[in-house]
């Protein structure tokens, strides 16, 4: 057993620093993209409250493009086409921009649904008490939105992490890119793909566990289910 496994182990150990860098890069892209798309998505969804029809139409068109066009096409556009327009962000920059554009389209929908899930009586009660809209959103509406979007947000985030593997197509040295390079010189695709899968599964599991903890916390604290009523 030991004899048979040791060359494989040796390979993994020798590649580990590169896999570690690739994992950290994947996580960094994920965190930056998630923070930016969540912030923009939330603000855009909030802006639709009481805004005119034109904003809804602009957002609908945006969602249509960035949810409709394949992720790879958008990444290639950011990596290859934007430099032609004078915007050369490099591989990582292009990937971050592309994924942010895509994720924002989904986050807008997630937060719009979250806002729609807050009973309109909540807005009315806040207004009747004379609470200004910004305070009402921050103190009364958003905490309820967070509860509603916790599950869809984490579901989407879990997909997001996996989707970053597509960035290997634009020369980002994330996990899949390193795996492909390692396969090219070691000819051990089985082990390496299994190992890459384990890395993705670990990251996704952490998010899924976070969701379970969040759901339990909401339940204990407020007796509220994270399921929609």
């Amino acid at each position: 057993m030991d004899e048979a496994l040791s060359p494989t182990m040796d390979m993994i150990i020798s590649l580990w620093p590169r896999f570690l860098d690739a994992t950290l890069l994947t996580l960094a892209i994920f965190v930056i993209v998630s923070v930016m798309s969540t912030t923009i998505g939330l603000l855009a969804a909030l802006a639709t409250i009481g805004a005119g029809r034109w904003l809804s139409m602009v957002l609908a068109a945006y969602g249509w493009v960035f949810r409709g066009v394949p992720e790879l096409v958008i990444l290639l556009f950011c990596y290859l086409a934007l430099p032609q327009l004078g915007l050369d962000l490099g591989p990582v920059g292009a990937a971050v921009l592309g994924f942010t554009l895509i994720s924002t389209a989904y986050e807008i929908e997630i937060f719009k649904a979250g806002l729609a899930g807050v009973h309109r009586g909540q807005f009315e009660a806040a207004r009747a008490l004379g609470i200004p809209l910004p305070s009402a959103l921050r103190r009364i509406v958003l905490p309820q939105v967070v509860r509603i979007v916790a599950t869809p947000w984490i579901t989407y985030a879990t997909g997001s992490i996996k989707r970053i593997s597509i960035a290997s197509a634009v020369a980002v040295t994330e996990i899949m890119q390193v795996t492909k390079q390692a396969i090219a010189f070691s000819h051990q695709p089985f082990t390496l793909i299994l190992f890459a899968s384990a890395l993705y599964a670990t990251m996704a599991s952490i998010l899924m566990i976070a969701e379970i903890i969040a759901a339990r916390r909401f339940k204990q604290r407020f007796g509220l289910s994270t399921e929609l009523p």
């Binding site: 009973h119 009660a125 207004r127 009747a128 004379g130 609470i131 103190r139 309820q144 007796g223 509220l224």
Partner: protein, 268 residues
């Protein structure tokens, strides 16, 4: 049309505040009109509530009672008409921000309670005073505990809305509105969603409030409450007030066929 009761006449004799206060008009609405699209939902509704009076509004579902209450505190803006608070004319065209100060002088309690579900009873009550009046937490808590005493729920201060019965939730909602020290309270069918055995505790709280001299406008179909507490009853139908007067005359001697039919329906 009018049952002859001048809104400025002394309050109903059962009212505990009768005679104790000068008959100052606390809130007045003149010829309020509200349209939704091409439907005229309020067609010139007027009301003058003297300080410490209890005005009851009755009428069939869809007659415009809730819309009228929402116009009084400007949750929705009337298309025409005037509002006065304690003699001061309210400019209904102001921006939402500028209406907030007027709105917190007028407390409102809803049929569906609308407590903030992620906050305890106490937090529900202290939230608006801390944000709007910028009172310290300690001061807000002290006053909130006093209000919880008043609605007999001091022991439930730390409970979340889902842990409270409907009647308890509604009493917390009343305390929450009172925490803003409003000069007028609006009640929109606040017992309609409650089981019969829970209505009583909410109505008792409202009776206490009336006895304290709060000016109240109450949409309610609790006829014994209306009879005992109201100074004046307005009957709405089709977006207009078609009869108004003392509770006994309105309920026992309806003039219009609409009111006769309505009274017959709710008495059985």
């Amino acid at each position: 049309m009018s049952q002859g009761a001048d809104p400025r006449s002394p309050a109903h004799e059962d009212s505990p505040s009768a005679g104790a206060m000068p008959t100052r008009v606390m809130v007045e609405a003149r010829a309020i009109v509200k349209r939704f699209g091409s439907n005229t939902i309020l067609d010139g509704v007027s009301l003058a509530a003297t300080s410490g009076s209890v005005t009851a509004i009755i009428g069939a579902s869809g007659s415009g009672k809730s819309t009228f209450l929402r116009c009084v505190n400007l949750l929705i803006r009337p298309d025409a008409g005037e509002l006065f608070l304690d003699g001061q004319r309210i400019d209904t065209d102001r921006r939402e921000r500028d209406l907030l100060r007027y709105r917190c002088e007028i407390g409102m309690v809803f049929q569906s309670y609308n407590l903030f579900p992620h906050m305890s009873a106490l937090q529900n009550i202290i939230e608006a005073p801390m944000i709007v009046h910028r009172v310290s937490r300690a001061e807000a808590v002290e006053r909130a505990m006093g209000l919880l005493d008043k609605v007999r729920l001091r022991h439930r201060a730390e409970a979340y809305p889902h842990q409270l019965s409907g009647g308890e939730q509604q009493r917390v909602a009343i305390a929450r509105a009172l925490a803003m020290r409003p000069r007028v309270m609006l009640f929109d069918e606040v017992t309609s969603a409650l089981d019969p055995e829970l209505k009583g505790e909410v109505l008792a709280t409202m009776r206490d409030l009336a006895a304290d001299g709060m000016t109240m406008i109450v949409v309610s179909h609790e006829m014994s409450f209306v009879r005992q507490v109201a100074s004046e009853v307005l009957f709405m139908s089709g977006g207009r007030i078609i009869e108004r007067g003392a509770p006994d005359s309105i309920l026992d001697r309806p003039q219009s066929p609409e009111l006769s039919a309505f009274v017959a329906r709710i008495m059985d």
